[in-house]
């Protein structure tokens, strides 16, 4: 799936960028461009754009209208990250690519380790 605009124009990628800058200082996405590339590859792999991925990871709880993490979708994407790692050759390279995707999710507020 081709993204319909540059990756860095998506709101959730902007949030990721801001989170990385705040956490580590400097401009991590520029310093480590592999991270953006990994996210782009992951988006192609799941055929979804970053905003769509992030929006699925949260749901509105019917009982009180609170925005909460979706366990179902977190499990889904954690599994997809594992597949993505394996597809990227496994080993350190696959780990590195998977970790970039996890970083994207983490800085968008998703508690996830996989």
């Amino acid at each position: 799936m081709a993204l319909d605009k540059p990756l860095t124009d998506y709101d959730t990628v902007k949030t990721w960028d801001q989170g990385l800058r705040r956490q580590w200082g400097g401009d991590p996405l520029a310093e480590e461009p592999d991270m953006l590339e990994s996210l782009r590859e992951f988006c192609e792999f799941v055929a979804e754009d970053p905003d769509a991925i992030a929006s699925k990871l949260f749901r509105i709880r019917k009982s009180d209208g609170e925005r909460v993490l979706s366990v179902k979708w977190r499990t889904h994407y954690a599994d997809k990250v594992k597949e993505f790692r394996a597809r990227s050759g496994g080993g350190p390279e696959g780990q590195r690519k998977g970790s970039a995707v996890l970083s994207f999710m983490i800085h968008n507020g998703v508690l996830i380790q996989a």
Binding site: G25, A100, S103, Q113, A114
Partner: protein, 262 residues
Amino acid sequence: MEFQQVVGIRRSIRYFEPDKPVEQEKIQKILEACRVASCAVNAHWLKAVVVRRDDIAPADLEKMKNPVQANVIALAPVHIYFYGDPGVVNQIKGSRLKQLHDVGALNPTHGWSHKFVDEVVYPQILKPLTDNPFYPVALAFDCGVAACQGVLMAFDQGLGACLTAFVPEVVAKYTKVPGNWIPFYQLNVGYPAESREAGGQRPRPPFEEQYFLNQYGSSFPRDPKVVKELEASGLFTTPARPDNAERRKEIRDLARRLNLPM
């Protein structure tokens, strides 16, 4: 290491050298420290099963992960699974109290005799206790006391450690523990990949909010002179602080080296 230094340098270590094995004797020392802990009625509810991470099939290790401990259990070369055995009181029926009597720990000066244990303590106190809904809470406290000694021993041995939850249904495939054992926590053990300070001593609630003299609401007076002594002895070490550039660099370097998200 001196006791106060061990207490002072303990941190929840979440970054381990994943491929550096832990010597068997160091693991034994952790367990020995657990074993000599204080325990009500000398019951010793705590049980532990040690499993080396590399003896766990990768597919099972995946199933043991949850969203908050996955990286810790994946990095730690040794897992110690802590359980409580609620059946122990009715197995030993006060015999360990009588042992304490025989060695002069529990004495007639404080009301203890074999007859008291056999006719009162076990049948009238301990046995009914095992049916009380709060029994698991009582034994959990003692298990925590024992596990804490093991944690401190790990640091005394130059290791790092971190308690996390575990997935009992998956872990049981390896530990094969009796079905009535209560799963508590997993102690992840290994050589720290973090520096010894690991960012410094973690923030804690104010002393005055936690501890009281005579009654709740009357804070235990905190003498600054004592605090100074504890700083000198090593119980207090460098406090962790926000926006610590050195710590941030350390974590970023670890994230790169261990392929973790940053």
